[in-house]
């Protein structure tokens, strides 16, 4: 089991620790609902040091990244971030990632913790088997610690610790600066649907960064947030989680990330299959479901229309904001319209629910 540099600090804060993707991580501190509502109304601090970072360097970096990813990296300028994904040739997803452009010959991917080794192996395979020159792929996961500061008060809190002009950092952009004297990549991105930042710094400085941020934000209601609330926050916004909405058996078109799948790009791994799927019609779609009757939908519960199973829940929970059960589900496209009345199989019962617009909140 791997530990982030913040492991002892989590324990000191009374966190309940759980294994996640090979890491010993905090699932909750004060309680999932309390933490969730703190992020929506004030701010929350997340240890995301388990995430992987991979640098791509060299004059051939862009050509390589264009083949590797489904989004169009040529649109990026220095200091910009892009949500993207790697696909297999059959259109299944290797991982969903964020891509940072530092310079024309220097990029960084942030990848899911549980996929970091798989991703790096895939990136090397693509590099070796493709016709690329002057590209270097470097796994920097051990060098970086990462903290997410999210919520309507995030900027106000961060501003106390940095001279960096945060107003100048637009959504999905980043800057490099000092936070509490620590060299930090300050990225206006996140996984909560709130304003906020993802902060990357040296692994051995991340504990100090955490403590400085927590001290600076506590008067504003800043709370440390565990993986439990991280999951409910992203679910209310319909953000995909690899292993649930995305996998090697689910294409990005099915998973609702068609908007990052740039089929007009001349070539990328998986393009042929995805183009074919788009032309034939995507067989199933990711939808948001809200319970009409009482119940909590969970991953792998069946979805029925008129008594026939039409799909499966990929993630579900009780929404802390709406106080009603919500789910993401992959359902047959002909039953995916908003307003469709469905039933969720919960234990021995079938419970009424409805396909609704997303995000849920």
């Amino acid at each position: 089991m791997q530990k982030t540099p913040l492991n002892q600090l989590h324990r000191d804060l009374g966190a309940r620790m759980v294994p996640f993707g090979g890491w010993d991580m905090p699932v909750q501190y004060s309680g999932v609902i309390d933490e969730h509502l703190a992020v929506r109304s004030a701010a929350g601090l997340f240890d995301v040091s388990h995430m992987g970072e991979v640098e791509v360097r060299g004059p051939g970096a862009l050509a390589y990244i264009q083949e590797l990813t489904i989004n169009d990296a040529s649109k990026l300028v220095d200091g910009q971030v892009q949500y993207s994904a790697f696909c297999y040739p059959d259109g299944g997803v290797v991982d969903d990632v964020t891509l940072y452009r530092f310079a024309a010959d220097r990029y960084m991917f942030c990848v899911n913790a549980s996929n970091a080794d798989k991703d790096f192996a895939w990136m090397q395979k693509v590099l070796v088997e493709g016709d690329f020159s002057n590209v270097e792929v470097i796994n920097r996961s051990d060098a970086y610690g990462q903290i997410a500061l999210q919520g309507p008060k995030a900027q106000e809190i961060l501003a106390r610790l940095t001279n960096c002009n945060l107003d100048a950092i637009a959504y999905y952009h980043f800057a490099e600066g000092l936070v509490a004297g620590i060299p930090t990549i300050i990225s206006r991105t996140g996984y909560t649907g709130e304003d906020g930042f993802e902060l990357y710094c040296a692994d051995d400085a991340v504990a100090r960064l955490w403590q400085e941020l927590l001290a600076a934000g506590t008067p504003d209601g800043l709370l440390p947030i565990g993986l439990g609330a991280r999951d409910t926050l992203r679910l209310e916004k319909k953000y995909a989680l690899y292993g649930h909405e995305l996998s090697e058996a689910i294409t990005p078109l099915e998973a609702g990330i068609g908007w990052i799948t740039k089929l007009d790009k001349p070539s990328f791994i998986g393009r042929a299959v995805l183009l074919d799927q788009k032309n034939r019609g995507v067989p199933r779609r990711l939808v948001g479901i809200r319970m009409v009757d009482s119940g909590v939908p969970r991953a792998d519960y069946p979805v029925y229309v008129d008594g026939n199973q039409v799909g499966l829940v990929t993630s579900g929970t009780m929404s802390p904001v709406l106080k009603v059960g919500i789910a993401l589900a992959l359902v047959a496209s002909e039953h995916a319209a908003i307003g469709t009345r469905v039933e969720i199989g919960i234990r021995q019962k079938r419970v009424a629910a409805e396909i609704v617009k997303t995000p849920f909140v």
Binding site: R16, V27, Q28, G31, V32, I33, D34, G228, D231, T232, S294, G295, V296, R298, T317, M318, P320, G325, R347
Partner: protein, 128 residues
């Protein structure tokens, strides 16, 4: 962590209050703390029968679904009607307002299998 002396307990983390042949059942302070925020409770119907050691209901936290097991066999004579709308009572008052069902037991000998507060606390301590 509270372990009221007047109650009996099971290794599945239910508590039992015995009043003649009627027992009141809920989940313990340890169980609610381990579950976290309770957001949904499923209870049996009044008049149904339950069997010792078998699941009679479900408690769901944000993250997890947990069965609740009947500590004794018998007939459900009352359920806590407040729980469907305020499941958080299990967190805030595990031993009182968070009670789940009342059962008229059929075999008093089953009570001999229950733990007293001291034995249950020792069991919990062992779980670490």
């Amino acid at each position: 962590m509270e372990f009221p002396e007047e109650l009996k307990y099971t290794e599945d983390h239910e508590w039992i209050l015995i009043e003649d042949d009627i027992v009141t059942v809920g989940i313990t302070d340890f169980a609610q703390d381990a579950l976290g925020d309770v957001v949904f409770v499923e209870l049996p119907e009044v008049g149904s029968t339950v069997e010792a050691g078998k699941s009679f209901g479900v408690v769901e936290s944000v993250k997890a679904v947990s069965d609740v097991y009947a500590p004794v066999s018998g007939e459900v004579i009352e359920i806590n009607e407040d729980l469907p709308d305020t499941p958080e009572l299990i967190n805030t008052s595990a031993y009182e307002d968070g009670w789940m069902v009342k059962i008229r037991l059929t075999d008093t000998a089953e009570l001999d299998d229950l733990l007293d507060a001291e034995a249950y606390q020792a069991f919990v301590d062992e779980q670490g």
